[in-house]
Subunit: 137 residues, 2 copies
DNA sequence: GTTTATGCAAATTCTTTGCAATACT
DNA sequence: AGTATTGCAAAGAATTTGCATAAAC
């Protein structure tokens, strides 16, 4: 099981309210969240700056990852780990709905190998599919 | 052939220096450009604001498209069109080098069909591959 | 001559930094 | 007790808006 508490501990991070609440948010909503989303939801419970710093800390510890988005602002989603290897997943597939604007991780889908031109070395891949999600149909 | 002049005319846009120069830039460098890149290259020849507005206009006319980027700021690239159908290409594959930071369109590569979960309707897809490019190896 | 684009100033928004007070271990 | 995190103020970027001038058609 992974509670916010366990997640912080296993990443050697101090237990603070802000961190617990933000992790909980990511676990509850299963969509990618922007700084502004968190600010709204947490409704002045924490300072804007603290949220920025929390996100940065989580990024550095590979707890969350940036989700690509064409609308400018950065979005973040919880990282899934290969339970067995404890290794970070470097292939992200996300779906962004053009109606509700929600971005969800499509974890079940894995990317086929992409044949790159000679001399190019792949390290990471992200696929963003845009369209209409199941709820908005 | 597609000169900046023709491109503007065919998109019903007024011919101005700024627009001509920016299109030329996109044609010359074949990488995705950020607002800041243009500002640097054009070296005070045009106002910052004019560049913002030019990019916005080009976006609206589907002359350029946003390129996904994990570094926050927006990047843009020239749109490739299917010559025959004159239709906009809705599948973008880009490669971003972690060393030189350049993002190039991999036009030769086409994405395999991605099986989406039920209820999801695809409209557009962008793949961003990150790694080391041919020049930086 | 009418419409659209540009440049400048200023307003907004987004993000980062410094530092003292507070909370965590 | 010692170290890391928070909140506040303020600085610094990035982007947008308003308006008079200039350029395009």
């Amino acid at each position: 099981m992974s509670t916010p508490l366990h997640i912080l501990k296993s990443h050697c991070l101090r237990i603070t309210d802000c961190r617990l609440v933000i992790i909980q948010e990511f676990l509850d909503k299963k969509v990618a969240l922007a700084h502004a989303d968190l600010e709204d939801t947490l409704n002045n419970k924490f300072d804007r700056v603290t949220i920025y710093r929390t996100l940065k800390t989580f990024l550095e510890k590979d707890l969350i990852h940036k989700v690509l988005d064409d609308s400018g602002g950065a979005k973040y989603a919880f990282c899934t780990h290969h339970e067995a290897t404890h290794q970070h997943n470097h292939e992200h597939v996300h779906f962004k709905c053009e109606k509700c604007e929600e971005t969800t991780c499509l974890e079940s889908i894995s990317l086929p190998p992409i044949p790159l031109p000679k001399g190019f070395e792949k390290k990471e891949m992200s696929l963003l599919v845009q369209g209409i999600c199941e709820k908005c149909h």
